[in-house]
Amino acid sequence: MSKKPRETANIGAGLWKATGMWAWLLFRISGLILVFYLGAHILVISTAQWSEAGKTFNDLMKAFEHPVLVLLDLALVVAVLYHALNGVRVILMDLGIGVRSHKLVYWICMAVVVIVFAVFAYVAFTYIITGKGVM
C-alpha cells in the first residue's frame, strides 16, 4: 500500500510510476515478440518437409550456428524468461498468493530470470568461443 496521496488528476501518467505498469508493458512487448517468433519457428521447422531428407532444414540449422544467430537466440531467451516468470507472477496474483507483497514477488521472479539467463548465456558463450556444447 502506497502512503502517497491518491492521485485524482492525470491518473494514467501516475500509473507509469508503478512497477506493475512497466511489468505489464514488458509482458506485452515480450509476448508480441514470442508470437512473431512462434510463427517463424513453425515455418523454419517445416522446411524439414520442403526437400528430400531435410536438406533445406539442415542447411538452415548450419546457418543458425553462426555467432550472431546464437546471440539472437540468447536475446530470445530473455523474452521467453521474462514472459514466463512475469506470467508466473500474474498467476500467483490471480490465485491470491503474495498479493500483499506483490513487488517482492516481482523482484524474486526477476532474480529467477537473471539466474536462469546466466545458465543459457554460459552455454551460448562457451559454444561461440569453443564451438562445443557444455554437456
Binding site: I11, G12, R28, G31, L32, L34, V35, L38, G39, I42, I45, S46, A48, Q49, A53, G54, F57, N58, M61, F64, E65, D73, V77, V80, A84, G87, V88, V90, I91, D94, V119, F120, V123, A124, Y127, G131, K132, G133, V134, M135
Partner: protein
Amino acid sequence: MKAESVTSHRGGMWAWLFQRITAVLLIVCLAIHLVFTHIVGIGDISYDTIGDRLAHAGFIAVDIILLAAGTFHALNGLRMVLMDYWFTSRKRALALTVVLWVVGLAALVYGIWALWPWIS
C-alpha cells in the same frame, strides 16, 4: 479509463482459464524443450538428431503440446492486445476471434505436417 478495460478476463472466462492452463503447460514443456534442444543439443541440431529424439513418445508429446498450447496461448494473447486497440466493439472482437481460430487451426495442421517425417 473504464474499469472493465483493465480486467484480464475481458476476453471471456474460458479464454482466461485456457490462457492460464496453457501457460503452465508451456512452462513445463518449454523448460524440457530448451534444456534438451538448446543446452544439451546446442550445435548438434539436424534432421537426424531430431529424429533420434522424437523416437521417444514422451518427446513427441512435448512437441505436440508445445505446438497446440503455444498456438492457443500466442493467438489468444495477440487477441487480448488487439482488443485493447482496434477490435474494441463486440462485433469487431467476434470477427477477430473467428479469424484467429482459423489461423490457429491452420497453424496446428501445418505444424503437425511439419513434424510428420519424424513422428510417423
